[in-house]
């Protein structure tokens, strides 16, 4: 039976309460009659034999690329770059798709007699992965074969010896990327694709770039001109990366892009109710909901976080394509839309969303307030094509505990950004004046290069990610959040959904239209 498409439910008196994610927990909310609830399409079928599919993709590349086997020869330098810990979400059960793909690439390389091979985690300005995370992503065999010999690298955007400046785009954008990747005879990039923004030229032009390069598109202006950044035809973020990617290709860097689509099978069996539609919950789903809810209420925050971050998603590869970057990405994007697309008729006055415990930047970490904002107003708000789900001047209501808490090892500059920058202004256009000092702060640089810290400038990027939403909406309310933290973000705290709706009426009137984004699993709204 083929998976069911997404669904727009109109709430009536008989509609059961709607599940809202709420950080390391969830709540049931009774939405007003007439509200719309957007349910994601069910997960598409997984590939029956992923290894064979990978082999076929490498042998039958898209675009004008030669089969990978024919591009490999003795004496060549081969670099294999791969997406970092920010994907997939939640981390998938072993074997990770990166492992499956890279094993096949290495097998071909070994057959061709290639012995100069380096693996690079394409971190951009993200934190370095831990050994455990690398082992999980690559598998024990690859890790043990490369890491002890110094052949498993993590991209260092602050090491001038590891970077090469390839030139300027026709828009004057610096293109500076990893030197080993740029000077290899072949750069194979292994991507995991969950959302339409990822992959394509962004893989190399962002994942292997320096701050000097990234600042050209990771800024408030670009983000307000990306409507949305999930829609490549209307995304300035996309356009900038494409200009850079084409310059990289024109510079002679030979890229063989491998992109994988995962299905949206997001939660394991015991949490399966999280991706089912409430009125279809079985007795087992209800029992699972009740049992986990009760248990979580009695569980200390730290333990609950640890439980959720130990979840391994049953994601399965649904497609793999390889070859020339743009041809590959066109197919990948098609697959993403085919899986996640949901047609929605018109905007609403209020958009509600329940935010889960995880986003791309807090894997095995704390979802700090800046990341809460980024997940809601950056990612979820931008999951649209055409028009945002909420009208201009409308209200976004998000549900999350939003603790005033930070992981000091992972997010040191976030703490200062929250304490000092957001205390002064929450305007994405205004905060830019502090960016340079954070980006060049020697302590943050040190922690980024030697620890597991996000780069000093990263919290700015998270806030820029919110820029389009902040410009578009009239008010943002967080239900159940730490009041001081919510206020520091410039949002309004509400103790319940009913209070939040009451507060929203000051902005949108007393009879607003309401849309709830029931996600994850992920969905892309085509708003007509």
């Amino acid at each position: 039976m083929s998976p069911r498409p997404g669904f727009v439910l109109e709430v009536d008196r008989s509609t059961p309460s709607t599940l809202f994610w709420h950080g390391e927990g969830y709540r049931l909310e009774k939405l007003p009659v007439g509200s719309r609830v957007l349910y994601a399409p069910e997960p598409v079928d997984a590939l029956a034999d992923p290894v064979s599919a990978i082999r076929r993709a490498l042998q039958e590349p898209l675009g004008d690329a030669e089969p990978l086997r024919s591009q490999l020869h003795p004496g060549m330098a081969l670099t294999i770059a791969f997406d970092d810990v920010s994907l997939p979400l939640p981390p998938m059960r072993a074997p990770d798709v990166r492992q499956l793909v890279i094993e096949q690439v290495l097998e071909l390389a070994a057959e061709a007699g290639v012995d100069d091979v380096v693996l690079i985690a394409a971190l951009a300005l993200h934190r370095r992965m831990t050994d455990a995370e690398l082992r999980h992503a690559l598998g024990e065999r690859i890790f043990d074969a490369f890491a002890p010999h110094g052949l498993l690298w993590q991209h260092d955007a602050e090491d001038p010896d590891q970077l090469v400046h390839l030139g300027l785009t026709d828009q004057g954008e610096d293109v500076e990327i990893n030197k080993r990747a740029a000077t290899s005879d072949l750069l194979v990039y292994v991507n995991i694709n969950l959302v339409a923004m990822d992959g394509g030229h962004k893989s190399v032009a962002t994942g292997l770039a320096s701050y000097k390069s990234l600042r050209h598109h990771h800024n408030a202006h670009t983000m307000t001109q990306s409507r949305s950044f999930m829609d490549q035809h209307r995304s300035e973020l996309h356009s900038s990366n494409w200009r850079m990617g084409r310059l990289i290709a024109a510079s002679g860097v030979k890229v063989f892009q491998i992109e994988t689509n995962l299905n949206t099978d997001t939660f394991p069996e015991q949490f399966r109710f999280l991706q089912r539609r409430e009125w279809e919950w079985t007795a087992r789903d209800r029992a699972g909901f009740l049992a986990t809810s009760k248990a979580l209420q009695a569980t200390p925050e730290r333990v609950a976080r640890s439980i959720f971050h130990s979840i391994r998603a049953p994601h399965k590869m649904s497609s793999v394509q390889a070859g020339e970057v743009e041809a590959v990405h066109a197919r990948t994007t098609e697959n993403v839309y085919a899986q996640q697309r949901l047609e929605v008729d018109g905007q609403s006055d209020i958009l509600t969303m329940g935010l889960p415990y995880i986003c791309p930047y807090n894997v095995n970490s704390i979802m700090n307030p800046i990341l809460v904002a980024c997940l809601g107003l950056g990612y979820f708000f931008n999951m649209y094509r055409g028009r945002p789900l909420v009208r201009a001047g409308g209200v976004v209501i998000m549900s999350h505990p939003t603790p005033w808490a930070f992981h000091p090892g992972h997010h040191p500059s976030y703490i200062d950004f929250f304490e000092q920058v957001l205390a002064e202004t929450t305007d994405p256009a205004e905060i830019g004046k502090y960016e340079e000092s954070f980006a060049t702060d020697p302590w943050y640089v040190h922690l980024y290069r030697t620890g597991n810290a996000y780069h000093g400038v990263h919290p700015f990027y998270m806030w820029y990610w919110c820029a389009h939403a902040l410009e578009h909406v009239g008010s943002v309310i967080i239900v159940g959040g730490d009041r001081a933290a919510v206020r520091r973000l410039g949002f309004k705290p509400a103790s319940s959904m009913a209070d939040a709706l009451e507060m929203a009426s000051d902005v949108v009137g007393r009879d607003p239209s309401i849309t709830h984004l029931h996600s994850p699993p992920l969905l892309m709204a085509d708003v007509l």
């Binding site: 200062d416 000092q420 302590w443």
Partner: protein
């Protein structure tokens, strides 16, 4: 005349300490050694002495520390019992009706010690070596000496001519009562030996912290002035008084690190602030100060510390200078020797420090007043004072900048 008298009574002293440790600063007063009673005006000790009738008398952190039974035993020999507290005083001279603030330190001149000690000879009266000697009973200052009385008494106090500073008409009583704590702040600012390129961090934003920030901004204009302030009203005031960065005290080390672009090692910044002024005086504040001062930098202790436990390894390794800043005397301002109180008057006027007076109580409500002062930060206050002006309201010659006594 009614007044508050502090007596030597060990049992009550212990009870106050116990009570304040549970209820908070100022809460031990009802069981402590302070009594509201009839007080005879003190005798004039000599010809150059004057009677002063207090108008406003402030409640200082050192007063609270004494009342809470927490002051260091170091002070036992330099106070004399029973004494009337109150050393932050604006009052009128009994004979001429002129308005004056009291410079309360009882140095050699006031004590009739001749020749004066080296410190007094140099104008550093705060460093007087004879505070337990001379013709007066021991006492660091008016307000801790049994012979002079203090500001917390309607009967008034006596002060030597050298201790009197006329108050210009432009200053309100509230401004004037802030001159003494501001003089302490000015002295601390001068002890900081800073300049316009320096990063200066002030820990604490009670009366002393805010006055120090104001004095720093007025006298030195350091490159960057950071203040750690716990409460919203303190943060607002610190900004108004000239701080460049105001953060919660827990965030101050991070703010200094950002400002100095320092690295961190062993829980200490590798560079840090050129000067840290500790206006708290606790284990935690001194530890924090040492963690954020740069190597060969300077920590100035302004808040009165008692016995503290601090790891001094970083002080030794980084060759940090720790210095105390007590009271006042004469300062070298741009090569010119000026009385600290004169400079303080200037700072008070320039920064409008009378606004720091948050509440005024009559003497008979001393328990409420002291509880309020002990919880000033939490209760949105800065300086709490006793208001003894009621009997003088008919005068009408002073600026009346505040409302009636609460």
């Amino acid at each position: 005349m009614k007044g508050l008298v502090f007596e030597r009574n060990l049992a009550r002293f212990a009870a106050s300490r116990l009570m304040s440790s549970f209820g908070g600063s100022g809460r031990g007063v009802p069981v402590g050694p302070l009594r509201f009673t009839d007080v005879d005006p003190p005798e004039l000790p000599g010809t150059d002495w004057h009677r002063v009738r207090p108008l406003l008398a402030g409640i200082c952190g050192s007063d609270l520390s004494t009342l809470d039974g927490r002051s260091s035993r170091y002070f036992e020999d330099v106070v004399s019992f029973p004494f009337v507290p109150g050393h932050e005083v604006v009052g009128t001279l009994d004979d001429t009706d002129a308005r004056v603030v009291i410079e309360p330190v009882l140095g050699c001149v006031a004590r009739g010690v001749d020749p004066p000690c080296e410190a007094c000879a140099e104008g550093r009266t705060g460093g007087c070596e004879r505070v337990a000697f001379g013709h007066l009973a021991p006492g660091l200052q008016i307000g801790f000496c049994s012979d002079t009385g203090g500001g917390w008494s309607a009967g008034g106090l006596v002060a030597h001519r050298a201790q009197l500073h006329p108050v210009p008409d432009e200053l309100s009583d509230e401004d004037a009562v802030m001159v003494e704590p501001t003089a302490c702040a000015v002295h601390a600012a001068m002890a900081a030996r800073t300049d316009t390129t320096h990063t200066v961090a002030v820990l604490g934003a009670g009366t002393l912290g805010l006055c120090t920030a104001a004095a720093m901004a007025h006298l030195w204009r350091p490159g960057q002035l950071l203040v750690g302030a716990r409460y919203a009203h303190q943060r607002r005031l610190a900004e108004e008084l000239g701080a460049d960065v105001v953060v919660d005290p827990d965030q101050l080390v991070r703010a200094v690190r950002r400002s100095s672009r320092s690295l961190e090692a062993s829980g200490t910044l590798t560079s840090g602030a050129d000067v840290v002024i500790d206006c708290v005086g606790s284990d935690e504040s001194l530890t924090q100060a040492l963690s954020m001062v740069r190597p060969r930098g300077r920590v100035v202790l302004v808040g009165m510390p008692g016995r503290v436990t601090v790891d001094l390894a970083s002080l030794w390794h980084r060759e940090v200078a720790v210095t105390g800043a007590y009271a006042y005397g004469t300062e070298d301002i741009g090569g010119v020797a000026r009385r600290t109180f004169d400079v303080a008057m200037e700072v008070v006027a320039a920064k409008g420090l009378g606004r720091l007076v948050s509440a005024r109580y009559p003497l008979d409500r001393f328990e409420e007043a002291l509880a309020h002062a002990g919880a000033a930060g939490r209760r949105g206050a800065v300086k709490v004072v006793f208001d003894l002006r009621a009997r003088d309201r008919h005068r009408g010659t002073r600026p009346d900048t505040k409302g009636p006594v609460p």
